[in-house]
Protein backbone atom coordinates (compact mmCIF):
# COMPACT_ATOMS: atom_id res chain seq x y z
CA UNK A 1 0.00 0.00 0.00
CA UNK A 2 1.35 3.40 -1.05
CA UNK A 3 -0.14 6.57 0.39
CA UNK A 4 0.84 9.95 -1.00
CA UNK A 5 -0.65 12.80 1.03
CA UNK A 6 -0.63 16.52 0.15
CA UNK A 7 2.82 16.62 -1.42
CA UNK A 8 4.12 20.05 -2.35
CA UNK A 9 7.62 20.53 -3.75
CA UNK A 10 9.32 23.75 -4.77
CA UNK A 11 12.54 24.28 -6.70
CA UNK A 12 13.34 27.89 -5.81
CA UNK A 13 10.29 29.88 -6.85
CA UNK A 14 8.91 27.21 -9.15
CA UNK A 15 6.37 24.85 -7.58
CA UNK A 16 6.73 21.47 -9.27
CA UNK A 17 4.14 19.62 -7.14
CA UNK A 18 0.93 21.18 -5.83
CA UNK A 19 -0.79 19.21 -3.10
CA UNK A 20 -0.38 15.84 -4.84
CA UNK A 21 -2.22 12.93 -3.24
CA UNK A 22 -3.24 9.40 -4.20
CA UNK A 23 -3.19 5.80 -3.02
CA UNK A 24 -1.91 2.64 -4.72
CA UNK A 25 -3.52 -0.54 -3.39
CA UNK A 26 -2.27 -4.11 -3.04
CA UNK A 27 -3.27 -6.55 -5.75
CA UNK A 28 -3.65 -3.77 -8.31
CA UNK A 29 -1.48 -2.08 -10.90
CA UNK A 30 -1.73 1.69 -10.53
CA UNK A 31 -0.70 3.72 -13.56
CA UNK A 32 0.76 7.17 -12.90
CA UNK A 33 0.17 9.01 -16.10
CA UNK A 34 1.14 12.47 -17.33
CA UNK A 35 3.19 14.33 -19.93
CA UNK A 36 6.95 14.75 -19.52
CA UNK A 37 7.70 17.30 -16.81
CA UNK A 38 4.28 16.92 -15.14
CA UNK A 39 5.79 15.83 -11.81
CA UNK A 40 5.75 12.01 -12.02
CA UNK A 41 9.44 11.51 -11.31
CA UNK A 42 9.46 14.24 -8.65
CA UNK A 43 6.64 12.44 -6.83
CA UNK A 44 8.34 9.05 -7.07
CA UNK A 45 11.71 10.44 -5.90
CA UNK A 46 10.02 11.84 -2.80
CA UNK A 47 8.21 8.53 -2.25
CA UNK A 48 11.57 6.73 -2.39
CA UNK A 49 13.39 9.10 -0.02
CA UNK A 50 15.71 10.53 -2.67
CA UNK A 51 14.22 14.04 -2.52
CA UNK A 52 12.47 15.83 0.34
CA UNK A 53 9.01 17.37 0.09
CA UNK A 54 8.35 20.90 1.32
CA UNK A 55 4.89 19.83 2.54
CA UNK A 56 3.17 16.47 2.85
CA UNK A 57 4.14 12.83 3.34
CA UNK A 58 4.63 9.71 1.30
CA UNK A 59 4.18 6.41 3.10
CA UNK A 60 4.80 2.78 2.22
CA UNK A 61 2.77 0.46 4.42
CA UNK A 62 2.49 3.36 6.83
CA UNK A 63 6.21 4.21 7.02
CA UNK A 64 8.30 6.81 5.16
CA UNK A 65 10.89 5.10 2.91
CA UNK A 66 13.84 6.59 4.78
CA UNK A 67 12.73 4.93 8.01
CA UNK A 68 12.40 1.44 6.53
CA UNK A 69 14.94 -1.04 7.83
CA UNK A 70 16.37 -2.95 4.86
CA UNK A 71 13.98 -1.12 2.48
CA UNK A 72 14.50 -3.53 -0.42
CA UNK A 73 12.59 -6.18 1.53
CA UNK A 74 9.54 -3.88 1.49
CA UNK A 75 9.84 -1.87 -1.72
CA UNK A 76 11.50 -2.57 -5.04
CA UNK A 77 12.13 0.46 -7.24
CA UNK A 78 13.27 1.01 -10.82
CA UNK A 79 14.27 4.55 -11.75
CA UNK A 80 15.10 4.67 -15.45
CA UNK A 81 17.25 1.66 -16.35
CA UNK A 82 19.42 -0.22 -13.88
CA UNK A 83 21.57 2.63 -12.53
CA UNK A 84 24.37 0.07 -12.44
CA UNK A 85 28.04 0.87 -12.96
CA UNK A 86 28.79 0.06 -16.59
CA UNK A 87 32.01 -1.78 -15.86
CA UNK A 88 30.39 -4.15 -13.37
CA UNK A 89 28.63 -7.38 -14.31
CA UNK A 90 24.89 -7.61 -13.69
CA UNK A 91 25.62 -10.36 -11.18
CA UNK A 92 28.11 -8.19 -9.25
CA UNK A 93 25.64 -5.29 -9.29
CA UNK A 94 22.92 -7.46 -7.75
CA UNK A 95 25.42 -8.94 -5.31
CA UNK A 96 26.15 -5.59 -3.66
CA UNK A 97 22.50 -4.53 -3.80
CA UNK A 98 21.51 -7.75 -1.97
CA UNK A 99 24.42 -7.42 0.46
CA UNK A 100 23.39 -3.88 1.42
CA UNK A 101 20.07 -5.18 2.77
CA UNK A 102 21.35 -8.45 4.21
CA UNK A 103 19.55 -10.47 1.52
CA UNK A 104 20.76 -14.03 0.87
CA UNK A 105 23.24 -14.31 -1.98
CA UNK A 106 21.15 -17.11 -3.52
CA UNK A 107 18.48 -14.54 -4.47
CA UNK A 108 20.87 -13.02 -7.02
CA UNK A 109 20.87 -16.08 -9.27
CA UNK A 110 17.11 -16.50 -8.77
CA UNK A 111 16.18 -13.00 -9.94
CA UNK A 112 18.71 -13.10 -12.80
CA UNK A 113 16.97 -16.26 -13.96
CA UNK A 114 13.55 -14.67 -13.47
CA UNK A 115 14.37 -11.71 -15.77
CA UNK A 116 16.33 -13.82 -18.24
CA UNK A 117 19.79 -12.33 -17.67
CA UNK A 118 21.59 -15.38 -16.25
CA UNK A 119 24.27 -15.48 -18.92
CA UNK A 120 24.75 -11.74 -19.40
CA UNK A 121 28.13 -10.08 -18.85
CA UNK A 122 29.16 -6.53 -18.06
CA UNK A 123 26.43 -3.89 -17.94
CA UNK A 124 28.28 -1.94 -20.66
CA UNK A 125 27.25 -4.58 -23.21
CA UNK A 126 23.52 -4.52 -22.32
CA UNK A 127 20.75 -3.33 -24.63
CA UNK A 128 18.20 -0.85 -23.26
CA UNK A 129 15.79 -3.70 -22.59
CA UNK A 130 18.42 -5.70 -20.72
CA UNK A 131 19.23 -2.62 -18.63
CA UNK A 132 15.55 -2.26 -17.70
CA UNK A 133 15.39 -5.92 -16.82
CA UNK A 134 18.49 -5.63 -14.61
CA UNK A 135 16.75 -2.72 -12.88
CA UNK A 136 13.69 -4.93 -12.35
CA UNK A 137 15.90 -7.75 -11.05
CA UNK A 138 17.40 -5.36 -8.46
CA UNK A 139 13.88 -4.33 -7.46
CA UNK A 140 12.88 -7.99 -6.97
CA UNK A 141 15.92 -9.16 -5.06
CA UNK A 142 14.33 -8.48 -1.65
CA UNK A 143 11.01 -10.09 -2.69
CA UNK A 144 9.11 -6.89 -1.79
CA UNK A 145 5.34 -6.49 -1.51
CA UNK A 146 5.51 -3.07 -3.22
CA UNK A 147 6.99 -2.27 -6.65
CA UNK A 148 7.57 1.28 -7.91
CA UNK A 149 8.70 1.74 -11.51
CA UNK A 150 9.45 5.05 -13.22
CA UNK A 151 8.89 4.75 -16.97
CA UNK A 152 9.78 1.03 -17.06
CA UNK A 153 8.77 0.70 -20.70
CA UNK A 154 10.94 3.50 -22.09
CA UNK A 155 13.14 2.41 -24.96
CA UNK A 156 11.78 -1.14 -25.05
CA UNK A 157 10.85 -2.97 -28.23
CA UNK A 158 7.31 -4.44 -28.49
CA UNK A 159 8.47 -7.79 -27.15
CA UNK A 160 10.11 -6.12 -24.16
CA UNK A 161 7.00 -4.06 -23.46
CA UNK A 162 4.86 -7.18 -23.52
CA UNK A 163 7.27 -8.96 -21.16
CA UNK A 164 7.22 -6.11 -18.60
CA UNK A 165 3.43 -5.79 -18.88
CA UNK A 166 2.78 -9.48 -18.21
CA UNK A 167 5.37 -9.46 -15.51
CA UNK A 168 3.73 -6.57 -13.64
CA UNK A 169 0.24 -8.10 -14.03
CA UNK A 170 1.56 -11.33 -12.53
CA UNK A 171 3.08 -9.48 -9.55
CA UNK A 172 -0.24 -7.71 -8.88
CA UNK A 173 -2.04 -11.05 -9.16
CA UNK A 174 0.21 -12.29 -6.33
CA UNK A 175 -1.24 -9.50 -4.19
CA UNK A 176 1.60 -7.01 -4.52
CA UNK A 177 1.18 -3.26 -4.94
CA UNK A 178 2.48 -2.08 -8.32
CA UNK A 179 2.88 1.61 -9.18
CA UNK A 180 4.24 2.50 -12.59
CA UNK A 181 4.63 5.87 -14.23
CA UNK A 182 4.43 6.53 -17.93
CA UNK A 183 3.83 9.30 -20.41
CA UNK A 184 2.46 6.88 -22.99
CA UNK A 185 -1.21 6.20 -22.28
CA UNK A 186 -1.59 3.12 -24.46
CA UNK A 187 1.05 1.30 -22.40
CA UNK A 188 -0.68 2.14 -19.18
CA UNK A 189 -4.22 1.42 -20.43
CA UNK A 190 -3.23 -2.14 -21.24
CA UNK A 191 -1.52 -2.72 -17.90
CA UNK A 192 -3.21 -0.76 -15.12
CA UNK A 193 -6.33 -1.27 -13.00
CA UNK A 194 -6.27 2.22 -11.49
CA UNK A 195 -5.05 5.51 -12.90
CA UNK A 196 -3.69 8.72 -11.47
CA UNK A 197 -3.31 11.50 -14.04
CA UNK A 198 -0.94 14.35 -13.20
CA UNK A 199 -0.53 17.58 -15.12
CA UNK A 200 1.62 20.62 -14.28
CA UNK A 201 2.25 19.24 -10.80
CA UNK A 202 -1.44 18.67 -9.94
CA UNK A 203 -3.45 15.46 -9.87
CA UNK A 204 -6.24 16.07 -12.41
CA UNK A 205 -7.93 12.66 -12.26
CA UNK A 206 -7.80 9.42 -10.31
CA UNK A 207 -9.87 6.26 -10.19
CA UNK A 208 -10.23 3.00 -12.08
CA UNK A 209 -9.39 3.04 -15.77
CA UNK A 210 -13.15 3.08 -16.52
CA UNK A 211 -13.83 5.94 -14.15
CA UNK A 212 -11.07 8.10 -15.60
CA UNK A 213 -12.09 7.28 -19.18
CA UNK A 214 -15.81 7.77 -18.43
CA UNK A 215 -17.44 10.66 -20.30
CA UNK A 216 -14.67 10.60 -22.92
CA UNK A 217 -14.59 8.37 -25.97
CA UNK A 218 -11.35 6.63 -24.97
CA UNK A 219 -8.50 6.90 -22.53
CA UNK A 220 -6.68 8.87 -25.19
CA UNK A 221 -9.49 11.45 -25.40
CA UNK A 222 -9.68 11.57 -21.62
CA UNK A 223 -5.92 12.05 -21.33
CA UNK A 224 -5.83 14.98 -23.74
CA UNK A 225 -8.94 16.56 -22.24
CA UNK A 226 -7.28 16.35 -18.82
CA UNK A 227 -3.78 17.43 -19.76
CA UNK A 228 -4.44 20.07 -22.40
CA UNK A 229 -3.39 23.63 -21.52
CA UNK A 230 -6.37 25.17 -19.75
CA UNK A 231 -6.51 28.42 -21.70
CA UNK A 232 -7.25 26.68 -24.98
Amino acid sequence: MIEIVNLTKRHGRRTVLHDVGFTARPGRVTGFLGPNGAGKSSTLRILLGLDSADVGTALIDGTPYRRLRDPLRTVGAVLGGSGAHRARTGRAHLAWVARSNGIARSRVAEVLEQVGLSGAGRVRSYSTGMGQRLGIAAALVGDPAVLVLDEPLNGLDPEGIRWVRRFLRARAAEGRTVLLSSHVMAEVAATADDLVVIHSGRVVARGTVDEVTGGHGSLEDAYFALTEPRER
Binding site: S41, R45, L48, G49, L50, D51, S52, Y65, R66, L68, D70, P71, L72, A77, L79, G80, S82, G83, A84, H85, A87, R88, T89, A92, H93, A95, W96, V97, R99, S100, N101, G102, A138
Partner: protein, 218 residues
Protein backbone atom coordinates in the same frame (compact mmCIF):
# COMPACT_ATOMS: atom_id res chain seq x y z
CA UNK B 1 25.87 -0.43 9.14
CA UNK B 2 27.74 -3.70 8.71
CA UNK B 3 25.65 -4.62 5.65
CA UNK B 4 26.30 -1.18 4.15
CA UNK B 5 30.05 -1.56 4.68
CA UNK B 6 30.08 -5.03 3.17
CA UNK B 7 28.08 -3.78 0.17
CA UNK B 8 30.64 -1.00 -0.37
CA UNK B 9 33.43 -3.58 -0.23
CA UNK B 10 31.67 -5.73 -2.86
CA UNK B 11 31.35 -2.61 -5.04
CA UNK B 12 35.02 -1.78 -4.56
CA UNK B 13 36.31 -5.17 -5.67
CA UNK B 14 33.94 -5.58 -8.64
CA UNK B 15 35.00 -2.60 -10.77
CA UNK B 16 38.18 -2.58 -12.88
CA UNK B 17 38.97 1.05 -11.98
CA UNK B 18 39.82 -0.09 -8.44
CA UNK B 19 42.62 -2.28 -9.76
CA UNK B 20 43.81 0.51 -12.03
CA UNK B 21 43.96 2.91 -9.10
CA UNK B 22 45.73 0.32 -6.97
CA UNK B 23 48.23 -0.28 -9.79
CA UNK B 24 48.96 3.42 -10.14
CA UNK B 25 49.52 3.62 -6.39
CA UNK B 26 51.77 0.64 -5.87
CA UNK B 27 53.57 0.30 -9.20
CA UNK B 28 53.67 4.03 -9.98
CA UNK B 29 55.18 4.96 -6.64
CA UNK B 30 57.64 2.08 -6.67
CA UNK B 31 58.62 2.81 -10.29
CA UNK B 32 59.28 6.48 -9.66
CA UNK B 33 61.18 5.64 -6.51
CA UNK B 34 63.41 3.23 -8.47
CA UNK B 35 64.02 5.71 -11.29
CA UNK B 36 64.96 8.46 -8.87
CA UNK B 37 66.97 6.30 -6.49
CA UNK B 38 70.27 7.19 -8.16
CA UNK B 39 69.75 10.96 -8.07
CA UNK B 40 67.73 11.38 -4.88
CA UNK B 41 68.80 9.75 -1.65
CA UNK B 42 65.23 9.68 -0.31
CA UNK B 43 63.45 8.60 -3.48
CA UNK B 44 60.79 6.39 -1.85
CA UNK B 45 59.27 9.07 0.35
CA UNK B 46 59.68 11.72 -2.35
CA UNK B 47 57.37 9.67 -4.58
CA UNK B 48 54.65 9.39 -1.92
CA UNK B 49 52.67 12.53 -2.94
CA UNK B 50 52.63 11.36 -6.55
CA UNK B 51 51.54 7.86 -5.59
CA UNK B 52 48.64 9.28 -3.63
CA UNK B 53 46.94 9.86 -7.01
CA UNK B 54 45.78 6.26 -7.01
CA UNK B 55 43.87 6.53 -3.75
CA UNK B 56 42.64 10.03 -4.68
CA UNK B 57 41.03 8.53 -7.79
CA UNK B 58 39.57 5.78 -5.62
CA UNK B 59 38.13 8.33 -3.17
CA UNK B 60 36.50 10.40 -5.92
CA UNK B 61 35.04 7.34 -7.66
CA UNK B 62 33.58 5.91 -4.46
CA UNK B 63 31.99 9.31 -3.72
CA UNK B 64 30.42 9.78 -7.13
CA UNK B 65 29.51 6.30 -8.43
CA UNK B 66 26.06 4.68 -8.12
CA UNK B 67 24.55 7.48 -6.03
CA UNK B 68 20.77 7.14 -6.60
CA UNK B 69 20.68 3.38 -6.29
CA UNK B 70 23.01 3.40 -3.27
CA UNK B 71 20.60 5.76 -1.53
CA UNK B 72 17.68 3.48 -2.43
CA UNK B 73 19.51 0.55 -0.82
CA UNK B 74 20.70 2.51 2.24
CA UNK B 75 18.31 5.45 2.66
CA UNK B 76 19.84 6.49 5.98
CA UNK B 77 22.37 8.81 4.44
CA UNK B 78 24.62 9.06 7.48
CA UNK B 79 25.02 5.28 7.48
CA UNK B 80 25.73 5.23 3.73
CA UNK B 81 28.31 7.99 3.95
CA UNK B 82 29.90 6.42 7.03
CA UNK B 83 30.25 3.09 5.24
CA UNK B 84 31.88 4.78 2.24
CA UNK B 85 34.28 6.78 4.43
CA UNK B 86 35.32 3.61 6.23
CA UNK B 87 35.96 1.75 2.98
CA UNK B 88 37.96 4.66 1.50
CA UNK B 89 40.08 4.90 4.66
CA UNK B 90 40.76 1.17 4.91
CA UNK B 91 41.48 0.71 1.19
CA UNK B 92 43.87 3.67 1.07
CA UNK B 93 45.65 2.59 4.26
CA UNK B 94 46.17 -0.92 2.88
CA UNK B 95 47.47 0.40 -0.44
CA UNK B 96 49.75 2.86 1.34
CA UNK B 97 51.18 0.10 3.50
CA UNK B 98 51.86 -2.20 0.55
CA UNK B 99 53.40 0.63 -1.46
CA UNK B 100 55.72 1.77 1.30
CA UNK B 101 57.03 -1.73 1.89
CA UNK B 102 57.75 -1.94 -1.85
CA UNK B 103 59.17 1.54 -2.40
CA UNK B 104 61.12 2.32 0.78
CA UNK B 105 64.11 0.40 2.18
CA UNK B 106 63.08 -1.56 5.27
CA UNK B 107 65.49 0.32 7.52
CA UNK B 108 63.72 3.59 6.66
CA UNK B 109 60.28 2.38 7.72
CA UNK B 110 59.67 4.31 10.91
CA UNK B 111 57.44 7.15 12.00
CA UNK B 112 57.86 8.75 8.56
CA UNK B 113 56.18 5.70 7.05
CA UNK B 114 53.29 6.15 9.47
CA UNK B 115 53.12 9.77 8.33
CA UNK B 116 53.02 8.67 4.70
CA UNK B 117 50.10 6.30 5.44
CA UNK B 118 48.24 9.12 7.20
CA UNK B 119 48.98 11.36 4.20
CA UNK B 120 47.45 8.85 1.78
CA UNK B 121 44.40 8.17 3.89
CA UNK B 122 43.77 11.90 4.35
CA UNK B 123 44.35 12.60 0.63
CA UNK B 124 41.83 9.89 -0.28
CA UNK B 125 39.24 11.18 2.21
CA UNK B 126 39.67 14.81 1.10
CA UNK B 127 39.20 13.67 -2.51
CA UNK B 128 36.13 11.71 -1.41
CA UNK B 129 34.64 14.73 0.39
CA UNK B 130 35.27 17.09 -2.53
CA UNK B 131 33.88 14.51 -4.96
CA UNK B 132 30.75 14.12 -2.83
CA UNK B 133 30.28 17.89 -2.57
CA UNK B 134 30.81 18.54 -6.29
CA UNK B 135 28.61 15.55 -7.28
CA UNK B 136 30.84 14.96 -10.28
CA UNK B 137 34.04 13.01 -10.71
CA UNK B 138 35.61 15.17 -13.41
CA UNK B 139 36.31 18.44 -11.60
CA UNK B 140 37.96 16.97 -8.48
CA UNK B 141 39.91 14.40 -10.50
CA UNK B 142 41.42 17.05 -12.77
CA UNK B 143 42.13 19.34 -9.83
CA UNK B 144 43.85 16.73 -7.69
CA UNK B 145 45.74 14.96 -10.46
CA UNK B 146 47.14 18.22 -11.83
CA UNK B 147 48.18 19.31 -8.35
CA UNK B 148 49.76 15.95 -7.47
CA UNK B 149 51.37 14.98 -10.75
CA UNK B 150 51.97 17.98 -12.99
CA UNK B 151 52.14 21.40 -11.36
CA UNK B 152 51.84 21.52 -7.61
CA UNK B 153 49.84 24.71 -7.25
CA UNK B 154 49.87 24.32 -3.50
CA UNK B 155 53.69 24.06 -3.48
CA UNK B 156 54.02 27.16 -5.68
CA UNK B 157 51.77 29.03 -3.25
CA UNK B 158 54.36 28.48 -0.50
CA UNK B 159 56.57 30.90 -2.47
CA UNK B 160 53.81 33.50 -2.42
CA UNK B 161 52.35 33.40 1.06
CA UNK B 162 53.36 31.82 4.38
CA UNK B 163 49.72 30.81 4.85
CA UNK B 164 50.26 28.12 2.20
CA UNK B 165 52.02 25.98 4.81
CA UNK B 166 48.57 25.29 6.26
CA UNK B 167 47.23 23.83 2.99
CA UNK B 168 46.43 20.14 3.54
CA UNK B 169 48.95 18.55 1.17
CA UNK B 170 51.76 20.99 2.03
CA UNK B 171 51.19 20.52 5.75
CA UNK B 172 50.75 16.74 5.43
CA UNK B 173 53.95 16.30 3.42
CA UNK B 174 55.97 17.53 6.41
CA UNK B 175 55.18 14.20 8.08
CA UNK B 176 57.56 12.31 5.81
CA UNK B 177 59.49 14.60 3.41
CA UNK B 178 63.05 15.63 4.28
CA UNK B 179 64.36 18.85 2.72
CA UNK B 180 60.98 20.27 1.69
CA UNK B 181 62.12 23.13 -0.51
CA UNK B 182 60.23 25.95 1.13
CA UNK B 183 60.73 28.24 4.11
CA UNK B 184 59.08 28.03 7.53
CA UNK B 185 57.20 24.76 7.16
CA UNK B 186 55.27 23.20 10.04
CA UNK B 187 56.80 20.46 12.18
CA UNK B 188 55.85 16.87 11.21
CA UNK B 189 53.36 16.60 14.07
CA UNK B 190 51.80 20.03 13.49
CA UNK B 191 51.64 19.27 9.75
CA UNK B 192 49.94 15.95 10.37
CA UNK B 193 47.41 17.49 12.76
CA UNK B 194 46.69 20.24 10.23
CA UNK B 195 46.00 17.73 7.46
CA UNK B 196 43.80 15.59 9.72
CA UNK B 197 41.78 18.67 10.74
CA UNK B 198 41.23 19.57 7.07
CA UNK B 199 40.11 16.01 6.41
CA UNK B 200 37.67 15.83 9.31
CA UNK B 201 36.15 19.24 8.51
CA UNK B 202 35.69 18.44 4.81
CA UNK B 203 34.21 14.98 5.49
CA UNK B 204 31.80 16.41 8.06
CA UNK B 205 30.71 19.21 5.69
CA UNK B 206 30.25 16.66 2.89
CA UNK B 207 28.22 14.49 5.27
CA UNK B 208 25.92 17.30 6.36
CA UNK B 209 25.33 18.40 2.76
CA UNK B 210 24.75 14.81 1.61
CA UNK B 211 22.25 14.16 4.40
CA UNK B 212 20.13 17.14 3.44
CA UNK B 213 20.25 17.37 -0.29
CA UNK B 214 17.96 16.05 -3.00
CA UNK B 215 19.60 13.26 -4.93
CA UNK B 216 17.57 14.19 -8.01
CA UNK B 217 18.16 11.98 -10.99
CA UNK B 218 17.45 11.59 -14.65
Amino acid sequence: MLNAVRAELVKLVTVPSTYLAAGVSVLGTTGIALLNSRVTPDAGFTAVPFGAIGVIVLGVLIATGDTPISVLCVPRRGVLLGAKVLVVAVASAVLAGVTLVAAVPLAELGWRAVGAVVYWVCSALIAFAVGSLSRSAVVPLVLFIVNSALVSVTYLLTKVTPLARYLPDVAGAQMFVRDYRAEDMLSPVAGGVTMVVWTVVLVVVAGVVFTRRDIGGA
